[in-house]
Subunit: 409 residues, 4 copies
């Protein structure tokens, strides 16, 4: 790798890191400190943890005479890396009023300066470039989580505050849902090109896929209303057993952020605050339970991840703007930039998968159980972070992510 | 179907139903009434529920002027069929001291007589034969559960009672573990023959399997001791994240029914009571977490269900005797009749799977989420119930089933 | 103490011990083994524990060359005596299908014979007589618990089985509720006579009691219906904070064993099975929360235990028959033999109270926190077990005991 | 009441309200927003709730054309008054990042101005004066809770931040513990003078108290160390049953804020941060369980609240400085201003107690169950808030309050 590329990585580093801080701009320090549930993290913690990642996996590896910014941060901002040592309990992240936000900002600045210095000092170091790049991809994942977790936090507040004012969306109905036919066959699955990918996208391998059809766009709020009106949440025969248990235990009757006003009108809580439900936009914040039950009711099914990847081969990778928008046209659309799409595929290693040695091997592999793969990207995924082979994953009951429904049959 | 076959089905019916009662013979009525955890059921409940199955899905369907044996039993002995109506809460089955055992025996006799009469009256009725046969397969599944649940119940008792006296086992060490190579290729997976299979074994379909190697026998207690001695339960890098959480929360340090005496010697609680651990027998009652961690430590992995099925094509289907026994010979062994073998495959529908209409459609399909496939059969599986395409399934943390470890690589 | 008294104690011993077995006669072995909640115990456990009490506190103390009937029973049937050693977890008593009922009966017989022999061998031993008598009082407490816990167990069964057939009760309305005035003053509180009492009734001491009035009889089902009809369970201002929390969390809307049939008619589950609610009988199975809220609504309050004891000085000690009955006459009635009466007094030691040394000191003293005193006796208290100074106690939320409401002001 | 008194109340109002804000000065907005457990509240919430109290019970009652500062605050900052309407769930107070701190400060200022105006406009209004005074007493209770809850929050932080720097304490050992004898007799208990008291201190009434002795000072850290060293936390015979359960379930082995460093030295977390344990200071942050077990071990007992009140008649009411200090002299000391002192008295209404009508009646009365009375005051009680008849109360297991041990016998 030549010098110009190292400079370019430094620029990218600077841009990505600054964008994370920009996401916190509409928020007060109080907003940044609160944790709304164990699965979500405070914004301040995201800001510190992404910095910890660079400090731990880059500075500590490459700096001579490395000394941590603060000894306690090693413990406080480790997310789940057993290989790095003990860590603060996940559910208590909201109690860390110290370090205060200004100190976390200082932490970011100090680590940023040291990374930039390191890149300048080791212009041709491929391992360094590789780890910095991993850190940036990691940072982008947390950029999405920041917006996802902020939405959840603001939704807990009876005052229903908005993260930011709404931009006007396009008007009009969604295009008709078409079925696009695919031939199947022996397909190459997994990442194949030269760019970055996570280890869980490898190795590229061959898989036999039967012919299938995929819906041209995501299921809309209006279509999901029809499912509700038809008694979908009251009919156990549509649901997986575990899904039906969730419906009964949590009294589920609609997607996560929907609420009914006194006059029986649906509204949805969004990053722009509470809004009347737009029937033409894709239904969002549904669990795999809900996605599967809807598909069952609609006489369809969810795609496998191989089917989805095969279909996505030629799709344009777009990115979105804080809220999913209606499909713009007929033909295959909304594969990227609107909502993550539940597949029926359990998250498991590709044949021949090997995780990295050391603590970084914990990045992906140890989660390959009882989680399901989501494909595509969402309206809060950063630009440049999506690709056809990307494997996102969450437990089947997760509702607070930006998730939607793509049908197959 | 000719008359002789109907007679033969009646004989089979009689034999299978009587065997269930025989399993209860070493037990007192008190033993039969207790429920040791929500996942296990009292023996009495198993006896009644299997009868309810015939009453509900056969008698009610075919008898003119059907009247239930007892109105309340419809509610009490429904396991999980929403389509049949409300049901008694699973965790409270141990509180049903009424109906008492004699009444449950009378229930069995009465339904048996009516089934026999029905078979005699409708000798050529293929649908009847099919449903009776399904009921018998279902009964055999519960025969295995009776022994599995009884073991769990007796294990809770500090007096460590045995279900039955031990038969002498073969002495000597286990044969060496060999690696048997398989070519892979496009394989036909799923049930293909004429005999009975469950709907989850269908449709038979083609799958691309890469070359692989399978261990010739199951992992032994002795081999698992080496994992423990090497600190296997204290090393998070060997475990899936969810498995490590279980280790920490439940303080796991050994297989489910092992215990250490004061002198540091391992014993195992079995249907024959507490016995010194036999190092040559296969390790049993391990969760998928433990199976996966062991495989990781041993530099191997668990097989996929397709690999297992491909390898099992020529294996002899044997059945066992209440306790797993050491492998008798080199070459592929212990595929059946010792312990169910965890695979890395999530339990999901085969391509094109369609569940039956009505309540019987709830038999399998609705459980295809967050469960993992086990292949083979165990030492408490009834003779005649095992086959290469059989898909057993349990959650990854389940320990009370007769489960073991077959390695692949 | 002379020989004749020892003989007499032997007769009493024999009579009390036989009565316990008689209580189990309407029950099957299955009924005797089940445990319906952690607070209740199986009948078999009661039979064994009361025997353990004699074995541990009498035989072990007095027999030369004492050997336990069964080593494991020391652990299995210890209720809460830390001083005796470890014990089986309370919530798992229902899993002890072994020892089976016949062995528990044999345990009783063997210990009984040894106690009788001991009494014969040591005719003048006052300490022995004292401990045997304590064991009999303890046995009588468990006789009440057997019926209380059986009622709870049978109530869990959707088949609503009766413990025994109902005897016809007296017809007609309850007499009017009168207020009886008492002067108060410095009263002697606590046990004063020569007969047996528990340590918590001592020492007798002086207390200043202000003038008060006591209701002539218990609150009836009919009166409690008026509280319900007036919205009593929906009005937080009537309830203690902890009581209102219980109402909300447990969705309380009526006394514990009441249920409404399809036509809106109240029924009550009793030891005689499900019966139409008799409006003239006292309301039973109410918690202190409910008793206090009712009193609040009725413009009254609950008595203190000192007030109750002062008033009970001259009351006849009657005993009842499995179900509370309507008051037979005007004037002070139903002080004994119907329902335990909640007082507003926290269960605390009398001034100068000292618990016994050793394990028997755990009998009462260690429970003197967060429990409330009930006075009188109930329809399932054995004859001869009640007295004015008796202090029963339960947590404020307990509903499964035979508890009722006596008003004061 | 004349004009001068109304002016004086306005001054007091101003002084008390300003002191609350001063308590928040060492804290960041982040510190003020976090909630460390359901029993504790964020400082911001305390600031808002005390303001809500004045708005709801004074402004709404007296202002013409009353309009709330913010409609949502009525819901958000109601603590437990069912009579005022629905309220935000207690455990979610830490999620209220909006309103932000500046808005809460503005809320305080606005309500303060309106109260001052009201006092000026209605100079002789006794009911107004009475309610404002109640609001100030309430505010002072929350001043204590602010410091108590902040200590708990900071203690959760592995960085162990101090609320404020420590002032130097007096050196030297504690004076010897003497036993002071009291005669007992018929005592007048309850508030009797002209000043303010809460309704739970009324009515003043007569009670018969037996002769007793009271320890001259509180139990010290050094004395409590001796209890620990003697195996106090491992000996069930010293503990109430519920206390022993807590020891086992929560693995209790020392007072709440103690911790042992690597060298076996005790430290205590305080508002001044982590400090070496000072053996001469009183042991603090103990539950009633621990206080009772210690007293049991020391051959003593806890006082009743009547005994305490009788003894306190002549004691000087001092106030403390953020941390309990060693006793300054022999003779009766530390009755006030160091630590609340657990009594053996259950919190129950005095004879003839009547709670106020309306929502203010919920202030005290509904909590009179399963709580125990503490007497005196603590080092974080505001000056002027303590008196001999004051009845503080907490559940027996509470550890996060400033609680200590005074022995009696």
């Amino acid at each position: 790798m030549g010098r110009s590329e190292a400079v370019s990585l430094g620029d990218t580093f600077d841009r990505v890191r600054r964008r994370t801080l920009m996401l916190a701009e509409p928020l007060s320090d109080e907003d940044c400190g609160a944790q709304s549930m164990a699965d979500a993290s405070p914004v301040k913690w995201h800001l510190a943890h992404t910095t910890w990642f660079f400090e731990t996996f880059v500075l500590e590896r490459f700096e001579d005479n490395f000394a941590p910014f603060h000894e306690a941060f090693r413990f406080l901002f480790n997310s789940y890396y057993n290989g790095v040592g003990a860590r603060h309990p996940r559910a208590q992240r909201g109690l860390l009023t110290r370090p205060p936000m200004p100190q976390v900002r200082a932490y970011r600045s100090a680590v940023d300066a040291r990374i930039i210095a390191l890149l300048a000092a080791r212009p041709g170091d491929a391992e360094l470039a590789c780890l910095v790049n991993l850190g940036l991809q990691h940072e982008q994942q947390h950029q999405e989580l920041i917006l996802t977790d902020v939405l959840h936090l603001l939704a807990q507040n009876p005052m229903r505050p908005a993260y930011t004012e709404a931009a006007p969306g396009a008007a009009g109905p969604a295009p008709a849902l078409d079925w696009l036919e695919f031939d199947g066959g022996v397909a190459d699955i997994g990442h194949g090109g030269a760019g970055f990918c996570f280890d869980n996208e490898l190795p590229r391998h061959r898989q036999l896929v039967a012919p299938f059809a995929l819906a041209s766009r995501l299921v809309t709020n209006g279509e999901f209303c029809a499912f509700i009106d038809a008694g979908g949440y009251a009919n156990p025969s549509l649901w997986l057993a575990e899904g039906w248990d969730a419906v009964c235990e949590r009294d589920l009757a609609h997607p996560f952020y929907w609420q009914c006003d006194g006059a029986g009108r649906w509204h949805e809580f969004t990053l722009h605050g509470l809004q009347p439900l737009d029937l033409a936009r894709p239904v969002s914040h549904v669990s795999l339970y809900e996605a599967d039950a809807y598909a069952h009711w609609a006489g369809a099914r969810l795609p496998t991840e191989a089917e989805w990847e095969l279909a996505a081969a030629g799709a344009a990778v777009e990115h979105g703007r804080l809220q999913p928008e209606r499909a713009a046209h007929g033909g295959l659309s909304q594969m990227f930039g609107q909502l993550w799409q539940w597949t029926s595929s359990s998250y498991s290693p590709y044949p021949g998968y090997a995780c990295a040695p050391g603590a970084l091997g914990e990045y992906n592999g140890k989660f390959m159980l009882n989680q399901y793969v989501l494909r595509g990207s969402s309206c809060v995924t950063p630009a440049g972070h999506a690709r056809a082979s990307y494997r996102n994953f969450f437990p089947a009951g997760a509702q607070w992510q930006f998730t939607g429904i793509r049908l197959a049959r």
